[in-house]
Symmetry: C2
Subunit: 336 residues, 2 copies
């Protein structure tokens, strides 16, 4: 039951390996119909399957890319990944997926191993902590696109949400509805988590622009399990803001848990808006007003840039994709 190789096909068809190879690569120019038919028959008869590994070795390309994400369980990731896979399918590429859980050591290992596996490029949601490695990849001209975060000092393609705009959309919407006391809920400050820092900074800017005071107490940046404690505190002191802006789906869940625990009514007791258009936004009561990230476009753009890099057509660039306000009922002022 040995594996069938090209040599076997060649022997059966009574031609050389070279000719079989030409046939498989559709270089038919100088090939008689007769020969083509014999090869086709031999392939069929032997049930021959080319070994792509051997071909990759010679051609120095594997038609495979590595996608390194924090966690596919996260909705943003899943959607971006799906878009990337669709693009790859169209180009005959395959996708190897790796989860880092935001651990730089895991990230380093994955990059090393996939690089050794000769992947043709990487799309990475970077932890941001392996600067030396990112640099080496760029030096080696290994196609590389960052998604969601940039890394300071690394001159690579990056596809990000326009966080400034996303926050503007959220805050302006709340302000337009007549809310003046607006709080923000986020995970803890972490300098390398670009979108988080950008959103928090943009929030303060947006408040200023609306001529609203920035209340320190209403900027809650805590580990998820501490968020509800902080909110509890505010509630008991009767200092809850009129509206809460959750900077992502995770923190949104915390706010919803808090709201449910105290049987508060949205938007009467607190209005709510968040980044990430969670799947249940429209069936929730009230339906949730959100800022949707253009996740599929992000994935598509990342893949496009990667392919462009493979063709050597580009110099590094940063892309800020536009978020979209999806107006529902969780941030409607009574009477509006």
């Amino acid at each position: 039951m040995r594996k069938v190789t090209m040599a076997d096909v060649a022997k059966l068809a009574n031609v050389s390996k070279s000719t079989v190879s030409q046939y498989l690569n559709k270089r038919y120019e100088y090939m008689s119909e007769e020969t083509k038919k014999r090869i086709a028959e031999a392939i069929e008869q032997l049930q021959y399957r080319p070994n792509v590994i051997a071909r990759s070795l010679k051609q120095k390309s594997t038609a495979t890319i590595g996608v390194i994400v924090f966690n596919i369980l996260h909705m943003l990731t899943t959607q971006v990944l799906r878009a990337i896979e669709d693009m790859c399918q169209q180009h005959g590429f395959h996708v190897i997926v790796c989860n880092t859980d935001d651990d730089p050591e895991k990230e380093r290992q994955y990059i090393d191993m996939l690089w050794a596996k000769q992947v043709d490029g990487f799309i990475i949601f970077p932890t941001g902590k392996n600067v030396d490695l990112y640099k080496k990849m760029i030096e080696a001209r290994l196609p590389l696109v960052f998604v969601d975060r940039t890394v300071e000092g690394i001159d690579a393609d990056a596809v990000l949400l326009d966080n400034e705009r996303a926050v503007q959309l959220a805050v302006r919407h709340l302000v337009d509805q007549g809310y003046k006391h607006i709080g923000l809920v986020a995970p803890p400050f972490a300098p390398h988590v670009v979108p988080r820092m950008e959103r928090i900074a943009a929030f303060q800017r947006a408040l200023c622009e609306a001529r609203l005071p920035v209340e320190k107490e209403w900027i809650i940046a805590e580990r998820v399990n501490h968020i509800s404690e902080r909110l509890d505190g505010l509630l008991h002191q009767n200092k809850l803001p009129e509206a809460i802006f959750a900077i992502n789906d995770l923190t949104l869940m915390e706010v919803l848990t808090f709201v449910k625990k105290h049987q508060l009514s949205i938007p009467n007791d607190v209005a709510l808006i968040s980044i990430d258009d969670v799947p249940f936004a429209s069936v929730y009561t009230p339906s949730l007003t959100t800022i949707a990230q253009p996740t599929f476009e992000m994935g598509k753009k990342a893949a496009e840039r990667l392919f462009m890099q493979m063709n050597g057509e580009t110099s590094p660039q940063m892309f800020r994709l536009a978020p979209k306000l999806i107006e529902r009922d969780s941030a409607k002022k009574r009477g509006f």
Copy 2:
């Protein structure tokens, strides 16, 4: 800027390629400390990275598996996939992910291409329509595990939910709460979609067991966009069942949309229970009683079986993993 190969390292360290290879594979038995050091230095100095493709060609193993799913956007898939990836990481394997959208043609292409890429095994959520191909894989002793669905006539490992049990849990819970008029909501009948058919059949059995009549009108198996029409119809005739069992997350969403549209109250107007513990189940109002699939265990089991097959230790087997009732508030009878 040529790529550094083992030959370069060998030359610099003044040893043969063979010795470098031994070193890399940690076959240190007959190697002097001196030589080891020289090789280590040469590797460091040249920044040598072994080419895993070349190694794979010789060793006939790629340490890569293919995971073919319907759609990673689906929660079940994402979670199973995550568990598979974790297991693979522990074993030094990588995962290539493919989405078929339940299209047999796409499935066939992916299997063909990944097979040609010499993946060491497959975990597949099968469309069920490529029986000839599945058979060939098994003949070729290509490790293969099915997840979520089995395929009739194919003797392969399969990891499935214990659908009978899942439905029993749901129906018995409703019955225990005092509900007597129970409806089911599902996507359309499709013989090859094993879990769907099993759940619908089990539902009828469970009703019988509870000595409840099986009302044809209350078994709704329709394309998702037609489900709400059917429910509307029942509502207008005042024939809505007391409780609805949604067989998966997709249909659950339809039911929730319907409930919201008519401003019905759960569980007073209709009680609700579903398979798939959706992420918002606990923050929804009322919180949703669900039957959780053991998604991570399913992924883990599938990967375990695949590795066992690679070691040639197994004969095909079917695994039915246990669902779990998560009791919340959407199926509580008033007064209970």
